[in-house]
Amino acid sequence: MAKILEVRNLYLYFRTLRGNVKAVDDVSLDLERGETLAIIGESGCGKTSLARAIMRYLPRNVALYKGTIVIDGIDVMKLSNREFDEKIRWVKISYVSQAALNSLNPVIKTLDHLIEPILLRKLATREEAVEKAREIVKLVGIPEDFLYRYPFELSGGMKQRIVIALSLITHPDIVILDEPTSALDVMTQANIMNLLKKLKKELKLTYIFITHDIGISSELADKVAVMYAGKIVEFGPSEQVYVEPLHPYSRALLNSVPRLHEEKIPTFVSGAPPSLLNPPKGCRFRPRCPNAMPMCEKEPPIVKLENGGYVQCWLYAGKT
């Protein structure tokens, strides 16, 4: 299968008054068409920053933004902002932001919202766009007359569906879903997850699914990237990462999830994630790692695995 997304050595640093925040630090990953990648990790480990770096949707205080991103064969880092807007954003890749419930303009109607990405790029006339909006709301399971309502007249689940519809209106290849279910109740979460599965099958979408809910991510994911303090510490097929995680952090993270059919008390990872202003030298998980060794003070190597994944830990250095 063709690679739809290839990220190599991506850096995204933010400038603050106290120094640079290393939100995304030397991150690489690959994704094939039709696959779903789940990015999991604690809060503040750079998941959203990674998504934003891929979307080139950056805040004002960027200190460093470099690396290689190839989307569908196009090296997007070489494009100007304008070209990126025209050729990539919402055409190849779209984004459902974290605060999806609040990401609808309260003073314009759903319909006007949905056709906004099309009209902004002049991809179609208004009539065609309206037609598309009708199709897309049907697809996400919302009655057509809701097109003429304002966001405050919709429920949370409906808003979430509208935001998903908004990300699909231009038929992109990749959709980045940044915690799409975090603010919803369990029933609605299940609804949305089913919707996402259905859309994936029907539209052959590639998802990048950002979450800290490991249970939910396991339902959808083909590949998993575990992020810790701005780095991907483990990347691999979901069967491997969920069943036998290699990195100590992945293990700790998965052990903290309660299991339904096992008599096992969930454990927690002691300590707190390090400040990204001044992360620990060498392996960033070292201060909390149960397997810490003196060697860990040096930058750990990236150990490639047979299944196409990698793990960044001294434990596996030289083993493969």
Partner: protein, 469 residues
């Protein structure tokens, strides 16, 4: 959705203050529509500033409805007697005669009824003469009781305007006759109007008792000339003391026209200035808040600098260099009033809105900066701004009036401020021509009350902190 607007309107209509305010504004909107439909603007300006147009109107007349409250009936409008008109009470005969030479005798007779308790305000005559030889003209005034008063006798060769009011030659001869007849002189300064309308008995001697005779007056004009083709036409105006709905000013202009045309100008000036100011302020503030950094710094500092420049002296200075029309005045007022507390307030609101997640989302799907400002940020603050717009309309209307009084304004436009200015410089307050001052003032006050009532209601409905459920 129309349903939501209906709901909003029904909420608004529950407030009596809103209904009253709306009625007042609609009244002035009606005035404006009527003015625009009946008299086009440039026509109105030409008319207002012309002298000929108003020559048949009484000077400084009170409103006509005064008669309903006054025990003495004041003469209404102007009695116009024109020998060129074919009307009842006007007759003219031209008779060619031979008396050795050739000649002509022209007789013009005017008959009119005068049924008022007060003397007219002014009398004037026009002689339209067309002759090669001088015309000997005699005017005799015959009162209803038969008393004949010779008014005028002269040789005329061409057009002549004769103002009977203030003709001292006539007055002194009249007084002489009076002394001969009654043996006493009146104890006050006789005027032509009294001379021509008063009963000539003891009552005429005192200001308190003198009264006009009611009934049919006749004016006989006899002219002779040696030119057999000579022609004469005469117009006689007897000006009354009340006229129209609001009276007239010193230039005989019907103030109603001024009040009528003042309405669209006041409304459009106030509404345009207020809406433009608010929207420009909003867009500038949104730009500052959205771009931040040097843009924010630039706009904020510029705002602070312009804020401390005094408004009025600057405006007066500009008016010395440029001649204002009402629209350039509007432009200058808007430019000068954009900067101020408004920008600061809106900027603070926008700084908050800037961080909302729907703005971030719009950025993510690629909305441009301008689009985010216009479509995403500005509409968010509109509900809080609408009451402010409505409330600041009267201040701009007042500003225009105040500027007119200061002499900064369109010298041609017919505005209430202009009328007030003319009334003030015409000494209306000193002489007690209150209608001249009160009519435009009342309009200004009513329009302000209208907008204020509406604005306060809108504020109560739109402002979340004042909203009543």
């Amino acid at each position: 959705m129309p349903g939501r607007y209906r709901e909003l309107l029904s909420t608004l209509f529950r407030f009596k203050s809103f209904v009253v305010g709306l009625c007042l504004i609609l009244l002035f909107v009606g005035f404006s529509a009527y003015a625009i439909v009946t008299i086009p603007y440039y026509e109105a300006i030409r008319m207002w500033n012309s002298i000929e147009y108003w020559q048949d109107y009484p000077k400084l007349a009170l409103p006509e409805w005064i008669n309903s409250f006054s025990p003495k009936k004041l003469p209404v409008g102007t009695i116009i007697l024109d020998s060129r008109m074919q009307e009842l009470g006007i007759s003219k005969s031209v008779q060619q005669i031979e008396y050795g030479g050739k000649g002509v005798v022209i007789n013009i007779k005017f008959v009119f009824n005068y049924e008022y308790d007060v003397f007219p305000s002014e009398l004037a005559m026009w002689f339209f003469v067309n002759t090669t030889q001088p015309l000997l003209v005699q005017v005799v005034w015959i009162k209803p009781d038969g008393t004949e008063v010779p008014v005028y006798a002269d040789k005329l060769g061409s057009y002549k305007y004769y103002r009977i009011t203030g003709d001292s030659k006539f007055l002194s001869s009249f007084e002489r006759e009076l002394v001969k007849k009654l043996g006493a002189k009146p104890n006050y300064a006789m005027t032509s109007e009294i001379a021509l309308f008063a009963k000539e008995d003891e009552s005429i001697l005192s200001k308190e008792t003198v009264y006009p005779i009611k009934g049919r007056y006749r004016v006989e004009i006899r002219a002779t000339s040696q030119d057999p083709n000579a022609d004469l036409d005469v117009k006689l105006n007897i000006y009354g003391k009340v006229y129209g709905l609001v009276g007239t000013d010193r230039n005989r202009r019907d103030l109603w026209i001024g009040i009528l045309w003042g309405a669209p100008l006041a409304l459009s000036f106030g509404v345009l200035a207020s809406v433009m100011t608010a929207f420009l302020q909003m867009i500038i503030a949104a730009t500052a808040a959205w771009y931040g950094k040097w843009m924010d710094y630039l706009i904020s500092r510029l705002n602070e600098i312009v804020m401390v420049i005094p408004f009025l002296p600057l405006l007066i200075m500009i008016s010395y260099f440029y001649k204002f029309s009402i629209w350039t005045l509007l432009f200058v007022v808007v430019v000068l009033s954009i900067f101020g507390a408004g920008i600061k307030t809106y900027r603070a609101m926008f700084l908050q809105i800037r961080e909302m997640s729907y703005i971030e989302a719009a950025q993510a799907y690629g909305a441009s900066n301008a689009r985010i400002i216009i479509r995403y940020m500005v509409p968010r603050v509109l509900p809080t701004i609408i009451p402010n717009i409505v409330l600041s309309v009267p201040s701009f209307v007042f500003l225009e009036a105040a500027l007119a009084i200061l002499g900064v304004g369109d010298p041609q436009a017919i505005t209430w401020g202009k009328i007030l200015d003319e009334a003030y410089s015409g000494g209306a307050l000193y002489w007690g021509y209150y209608h001249w001052i009160l009519a435009p003032s009342l309009c200004l006050v009513l329009i302000s009350i209208g907008f204020a009532l509406m604005g306060f209601t809108l504020d109560r409905v739109f402002n979340p902190r004042l909203r009543e459920r």
